[in-house]
């Protein structure tokens, strides 16, 4: 046994889901503002009603940081490939990169996606509306869910419209003779970038549907908040990624 060893008072452990028995509001009820009320000083799992939310937000944030690097890699490959050429027999520099004119429908799709971010944000805000949250927390009906659901449905619809629009854009390109494997690298990149982004968005649409279902299934307002909040951050980020990728496809051919 080590020479100096002290036992410290052990708090009685409560089975706690990290929610903390207080309403999940923005305002922190400090009740006097003493030292003991600073949630950061509490053991984990007892850091107030927002603890789980913070944890999941942080997780989504890091996952998206990794995802960002994925797209950064694709974009840098785009530029490297664009500047790769060769010299022909007469020592002329030839490049096989022919700028591709993006189908005009992409502008509409972009507008739809921006709009969907707005509806998503509306949905998210409903779940943090103080009075409604208080009601739900106390078990007096589900006003927040009622208000958020239509916005989620709207986002879901807009998201699906965006995906459909991308599909149409691909069809149009194929009709013009640009296929994924046509010799032109700019068309590989067009399909690759819109395709990988589309897969991310498809996951987002699935997440939206799941969140919508979860709103009605989950029993605790705290968990309902998490589901919608995390979906929203994912959705916003994908929207932001799209704006950059679209700018790349339009302006940097």
């Amino acid at each position: 046994m080590p020479a100096t060893f002290t036992r410290h008072p052990v708090e009685i452990e409560r089975k706690d889901t990290g929610i903390g028995g207080k309403p999940p509001l923005d305002r922190r009820p400090t009740g006097g503002g003493g030292d003991g009320d600073n949630w950061e000083n509490r053991p984990s799992g007892r850091r107030g009603p927002r603890e789980l939310l913070t944890r999941y937000r942080l997780g989504v944030l890091f996952a998206l940081a990794g995802d960002l690097m994925f797209f950064v890699a694709l974009v840098s490959a785009f530029f490297v490939r664009q500047s790769a050429g060769h010299f022909d027999a007469r020592e002329n520099y030839v490049s096989d990169w022919h700028p591709l004119a993006v189908p005009p429908i992409l502008w509409i799709n972009t507008a739809i996606l921006i709009l969907s971010s707005l509806t998503m944000e509306m949905a998210r805000r409903q779940l943090f509306h103080e009075i409604d949250v208080m009601d739900e927390w106390l078990g007096l009906g589900r006003p927040a869910v009622k208000r958020a659901a239509p916005w989620l449905v709207a986002t879901f619809t807009l998201g699906s419209l965006f995906l459909a629009g991308q599909w149409i854009a691909w069809k149009q390109l194929v009709q013009q003779g640009f296929r994924y494997n046509s010799p032109d690298p700019s068309s590989h990149f067009f399909y690759l970038i819109t395709g990988t982004h589309g897969i991310h968005l498809l996951l987002g649409v699935i997440a939206l549907a799941a969140a919508l279902g979860a709103l009605f299934i989950l029993r605790r307002i705290e968990l309902r908040q998490i589901v919608v909040d995390c979906t929203a951050w994912y959705w916003h980020t994908m929207g932001l990624f799209w704006i950059f990728l679209f700018a790349l496809l339009v302006c940097f051919q």
Partner: protein, 553 residues
């Protein structure tokens, strides 16, 4: 301790990760022994493989490297050990996302299976090395194993990327959000700092590798031309139909590849710091500097990838820039090494097995690290690139340092997991044989390399005399490698017997200060730094982190 399948207990997952690494290391070692035997007796018929053809040799190199780098050195010290003790070390109640964490493990296991499956498909395992440079890796007709085998390789590494990514998200959220009250940044054990940095690196670079893999896969199957240059002639057929750039793959791969080697070695550096402090009963002088240097190494590691490409046809000015950043990374590495020497200097060393292995880690880190700045000179590297000199460099600094840190960790945490001590005399025997055999295996490779022996060549045709001078050297390496591998049987035997019959460990057997050894995980605040040892007064006085700071002090 019983292991349930699909457990979400982080400690059980830690053990599963270590077992997975054990499977991979056994397979990888067997492959390397076959290569070594082949190098000195080229016509020897090996069971399962027969006499080895040149492409067979390449398949062995590829699978050896992939197994060791991804499934041993990336897996065990980082996510393996972190699962074993990270939550306890920061006083958390568990991982932030236990299910995600478990999913990461099962994906890793799946990746390993997919990789090993490459041996059993028609034409066998891929032959393009762990770095998979195109066009060899991009064209199925480029050689045996480049068809189905290469596809499996790509699938396996893609799954591995996803798994590491999930694991890193979980680890980062745990470190950032789940620390016990009072566990401030300057009270984190150095291992936690290292895991923090490696998790960030993992997130950033494995995503890039995944993107590169998708591009390569698309070149192979969907007719794109990202990496294959125009007019590329493979086996009599022109396969290149666009101005693809093999250099692009090199850039993407090494942007991942260099940080990857730090992912493998940083946890060992953190662990060595903890062990040196413990077994020398010293505080860590300049704790903040040591932690900052770990972060600095991680950050600098992101901007040095070009030193793998000096002779690739990259712009020479870029080569100079990368040489500069690479030299810069030697600075924080040196600070770390000096920091360790300061701890050891004048400490009262207790040379128990974990400490011996930590010292071994230090010795390999220095021995292998010294050749780094040599290779970082573009002019010297023009000669040394792709010779055995490079093989010597990275086997000392990455492979052996990494493996020694894994051994140190296992000997150190064994009592924590099994409640028993590992046998000390067997441990010491294991250490000394391994140390000597490891140097015997990898140090002479420098000489082969200087003599011009290239890597990845099954044998050298041409005038018989040209390499006869190094034949003795090669034989020595092979015998040493055999000794090195057989010494590991001592280790396995030690584990096997100690689990059942080892001496029962007392609580906190190493008199350590970090929280994983706390007798109960109460909920008190942490009020002490991680390494409060005090020899000047009395060797047995130390203040564990679970002890409250007393007011009188």
């Amino acid at each position: 301790m019983r292991l349930r399948v699909f457990t979400t207990s982080h400690r059980a997952l830690g053990i599963l990760y270590l077992l997975l690494a054990l499977v991979a290391v056994i397979a990888g070692t067997l492959l390397s022994l076959i290569m070594r035997l082949h190098r000195i007796w080229p016509d020897l018929a090996v069971p399962f493989f027969g006499t080895i053809k040149p492409e067979g040799y390449l398949a062995l190199v590829t699978m050896h490297g992939t197994l060791m780098i991804f499934f041993v050195l990336t897996t065990a010290p980082q996510i393996g050990f972190a699962n074993l003790v990270l939550p306890e070390q920061i006083g958390a109640r568990g991982m932030a996302f236990p299910r995600l964490n478990a999913a990461a493990f099962w994906l890793t296991a799946l990746a390993l299976l997919v990789l090993l499956a490459a041996f059993f498909v028609p034409q066998g395992a891929p032959i393009s090395g762990w770095t998979s440079y195109p066009p060899l890796s991009a064209v199925a007709s480029a050689g045996p194993g480049e068809g189905a085998g290469m596809d499996l390789w790509l699938a396996s590494i893609a799954i591995f990327c996803l798994a590491s990514w999930l694991g890193a998200v979980n680890m980062l959220v745990t470190i950032l959000g789940e620390r016990r009250a009072g566990m401030t940044w300057s009270r984190l054990p150095m291992t936690v700092w290292a895991w923090l940095v490696t998790s960030i690196l993992t997130l950033l670079v494995f995503s890039v590798l995944l993107a590169a893999i998708i591009l390569l896969f698309s070149d192979r199957h969907f007719g794109s031309s990202f990496f294959v240059p125009r007019g590329d002639l493979v086996n009599g057929h022109i396969v290149g139909h666009g101005d693809g750039s093999p250099l692009l793959w090199l850039h993407l791969f090494w942007f991942f590849g260099h940080p990857e080697v730090y992912i493998a070695v940083l946890p060992g550096m953190g662990l060595a710091t903890s062990l040196f402090a413990n077994f020398a009963r010293r505080r860590v002088a300049g704790y903040r500097v040591m932690a900052a240097m770990l972060v600095a190494i991680g950050l600098l590691g992101l901007v040095v990838w070009g030193h793998h490409m000096f002779v690739s046809g990259m712009n020479p000015y870029a080569g100079t820039a990368f040489a500069l950043t690479t030299m810069a990374i030697a600075v924080p590495s040196t600070v770390e090494a000096l920091g360790w020497l300061t701890i050891l200097w004048g400490g009262r060393l207790r040379l128990r097995t974990p400490m011996l292995f930590a010292l071994g880690f230090l010795s390999f880190f220095i021995a292998g690290g010294l050749t780094g700045p040599i290779l970082a000179q573009p002019a010297l590297d023009a000669y040394l690139h792709n010779t055995f000199f490079v093989v010597a460099h990275f086997h000392l600094v990455m492979a052996m340092a990494g493996v020694f840190s894994i051994f140190a960790g296992i000997y150190y945490w064994f009592p924590l997991i099994s409640g028993r001590m590992m046998n000390e005399s067997l441990g010491k025997l294991h250490f000394w044989i391994t140390l000597i055999a490891a140097y015997g295996t990898f140090f002479p490779m420098h000489f082969s390399g200087l003599a011009g022996e290239p890597r990845h060549y099954e044998r050298l045709a041409g005038p018989v005399t040209s390499f006869s001078a190094i034949a003795a050297n090669e034989r020595g390496i092979t015998f040493s490698a055999l000794l090195l591998a057989s010494a590991q049987l001592i280790f396995l035997w030690n584990i096997f017997t100690s689990v059942r019959r080892g001496r029962v460990a007392e609580a906190n057997p190493w008199e350590a200060t970090t929280l994983e050894w706390a007798p109960e995980m109460g909920r008190g605040r942490v009020e002490r730094g991680p390494y409060e040892y005090e020899i000047p007064a009395n060797e047995t006085i130390f203040h564990p982190q679970w002890e409250l700071a007393s007011k009188q002090e």
